[in-house]
Symmetry: C2
Subunit: 470 residues, 2 copies
């Protein structure tokens, strides 16, 4: 029996799958060790490694389709793989099968500058796209932190720090090329179509956005682009309480300030950032902000925001226009994951993800902090507060089963707290493996039945990323 060279797991279906692939598709593109290393090295979740039996590296949609047809015929599970930066175990091969690594399909296609759109293959990451766009005056703003592939971001309905202004993947995908479980190739908005809006038929694009590889393999995405703002200003402000920080956020939005980023960090997170990046922000609830626009409009945005924060007891309002200071500030925010890990060297991290209506944020954050203390857990909080979305970055010793269990119970309590406040168990990470039971609580049995019906229609043999979402 073949076994995984990295984690020494033995897989029942391994020989059968590899043999099936070799017999029908030749050796080319089939790799085991590489796949497993890829998954081990890149999957940032704490979910247990579940390696596939085989990995294929198709180079074009026709190859993806041909390989899917083979899987379909042999009833082999298909697990689409982008960069493996997902957080909810979405790329684990629970039933073995074939991992479709799409990294070799990495071309940026069909940039239309005047139309503010571009089409990318699934191996293109957001940073690669923005590098490509560098001289065009355009950019793609959705930023989940990791340098994820854009089709991977579409598949989990990702968002991140800029969503309050530019929306999530849901609002920014115009069209998708998708290979279905049986190898059929479809274009969700019609081949090559890219109007900025449409009322033509069912919204298939947004059925596949967020479907986490369970309905098909995304092989192309047409995305909306935005003009790079003339100027950007960043700011930091400290608050006496979570309530004061959230009140400021609501008032900034009410005032119509077109804020580009408004990020909350709790006292523990700020402390971690200070230590990790040798900074000296006051260790209190803090907002990191960013404004995009013309120089003149920025002055006004900053001044309105400063006034609002001051009225809410905010202090140490510091703003920065120069690239270097701004970069330093956002590096601190983007390093939150590593700053959290540094709180307990040798530990692993898992980032929770809930989203509630804005007005419920103070209560849920306060209750969650009490919960963390009560259960002796390390979980600094950072959040995209303009959307009501936040994370606890849980730092835990994976070899301490008691702590692992307490983290697990804590995250379930947190999700249920969000559900009790009209919110969702995941604002941007997706359901994957970890939140299937919570999804059922969130939607109720009838909506789940509808989702299961859609899944059964598009993937009657349950081959597409089985065991995820539903």
């Amino acid at each position: 029996m073949l076994s995984c060279s990295v984690c020494s797991l033995q897989s029942e279906g391994l020989e059968r799958a590899v043999a099936a692939f070799r017999s029908v598709s030749g050796d080319e593109g089939v790799s085991l060790g590489e796949a497993v290393r890829e998954q081990h090295g890149r999957d940032e979740s704490v979910h247990r490694c579940r390696p596939p039996d085989v990995v294929v590296f198709p180079r074009c949609v026709e190859e993806v389709s041909a390989l899917a047809k083979i899987c379909h015929e042999h009833q082999l599970p298909i697990i689409p793989f982008g960069t493996g930066t997902g957080l909810e175990g979405g790329v684990g091969a629970l039933k073995g099968g074939v991992c479709f690594s799409l990294r070799n399909m990495d071309q940026v296609l069909d940039l239309h500058q005047e139309d503010f759109d571009v089409t990318v293959e699934p191996g293109v990451t957001r940073k690669a796209l923005n590098s490509y766009l560098r001289d065009t005056g355009l950019w793609f703003p959705v930023d989940p932190g990791a340098d994820a592939s854009l089709c991977g971001m579409a598949s989990t309905s990702a968002s991140g720090t800029n969503a309050v202004r530019y929306g999530t993947m849901r609002e920014n995908v115009l069209n998708l090329e998708v290979v279905l479980a049986d190898g059929t190739i479809i274009h969700t908005a019609g081949r090559g179509r890219r109007p900025r809006k449409t009322s033509a038929g069912y919204n298939l694009t947004n059925l596949f956005v967020g479907s986490e590889g369970t309905l098909g393999i995304l092989t192309k995405a047409t995305l909306r682009l935005y003009g790079i703002p003339e100027s950007m200003v960043s700011a930091v402000c400290s608050f006496p309480s979570v309530q004061a920080a959230v009140d400021s956020t609501v008032q900034v939005l009410q005032a119509g300030v077109p804020i580009a980023r408004i990020e909350f960090l709790d006292d523990v997170m700020i402390g971690a950032c200070n230590s990790f990046n040798s900074l000296s922000y006051p260790v209190t609830p803090t907002l990191f902000l960013e404004f995009h626009g013309s120089s003149k409009s920025l002055e006004e945005q900053v001044s309105i925001t400063e006034e609002i924060t001051r009225d809410n007891g905010g202090s140490d309002f510091a703003w920065a226009e120069d690239e270097e200071t701004r970069a330093k500030l956002w590096k601190a925010r983007h390093d939150a994951w590593y700053a959290s890990l540094a709180l307990r060297p040798g530990c692993k991290a898992y980032s929770t993800d809930v989203c509630v209506p804005l007005s419920r944020l103070p209560q849920i954050i306060v209750e969650t902090k009490e919960d963390l203390i009560r259960n002796n857990l390390t979980g600094p909080i950072a959040g995209h507060v303009g959307d009501g979305n936040f994370h606890c970055i849980m730092v835990l010793d994976p070899n301490d089963p008691d702590e692992v269990q307490r983290v697990h119970e804590f995250t379930e309590r947190l999700a249920r707290r969000a559900l009790a406040m009209d919110g969702t168990c995941t604002g941007e990470h997706g359901v994957g493996l970890g939140k299937r039971a919570l999804l059922r609580e969130e939607l109720g049995p009838m909506a789940m039945e509808v989702m299961q019906g859609l899944k059964a229609t598009l993937d009657p043999k349950n081959l597409m990323n089985p065991g995820k979402v539903l």
Copy 2:
């Protein structure tokens, strides 16, 4: 046999359906004449009147569900009806059946000011909602022109003049309560949930938005709201050519001006508006614009826009801050339908609807104007040019079969021209009855098959608004 009292059509299923309803649900809420009058009086499309057999006026979701169950059991078609302002024949009862008029469910529910959301029943129109919100500092910006019901707008994925800044219904519906064909009640994002974003499971909300009553009956919509801007400024500018007007639009968007409305009117439309409203705009391609923001930011927005239009040969740039002048300007734009009709008294109008990438607008508009002249047709053009979306308001004599035929052929050519330019046959009116063949051309047979599969899953007896979309 019963017959329709307004158009004298006789309906085969009439007696059977009415009898079925009377036997199982009593007389209450069952009406024929009223339904037919409602459809005759309100359906603004040129599609032939297709009255239902029965109309019911449910008062709550439980009644909708109970009535749907009766229809399901007796295999009676279900046609959801909001205000009948749709333009593609979406409420015609092609196979007879039961019209669900939702006008008695007209409550605004659960306004959450701090969270910028509200839930409405399906009888609430956009104007009624904005009246309700008057003292809150909030508004719902999606504006298709007609005072449509908000659930009707959701069902056709409506948009209109403000979409360039605030998005369409797709981006502004957070949750839907839906009654399926068999009477099952679901909440697309889970009961009562209203986070501003979510990655939890398939995006059912946007599967029902735009489904035009073919997948279920919308009985509640939770909508995003926006702060009313501190100030608004409107402007008008005349251009030497369509190209110059569109170039200005692209450059305004590239410059990051957060423009709220940017509406194109061709020379014929401007002429019609001048006559109808006693105005004296130059009879050339024209942009009507609106800016939302703080007084200070407006100054800058207007000044950048004015410079861009001047560089493109725009002239007579006139802007208005006072409510009265602004209202006059937008009344002219909103009266475009009636101004067009007044070009040929006694005629009827049909508004086409296509959407293309911005850069293709000049070519498609120029070719379309040539087509109109060549075929001796009256079709002033107005468009939401920031989205690449425009309409020809076709004014025709319904009793001239040759002209009716020429209009039909023209609209098909226009749609195919949009398809050839990577666009869509409908940007905001929907497919309804009139564009089913075009939809097939737009999406291709495979995507159509997926849509048919979804329809068969959710409505296996094909009772929901049969004969529409697919």
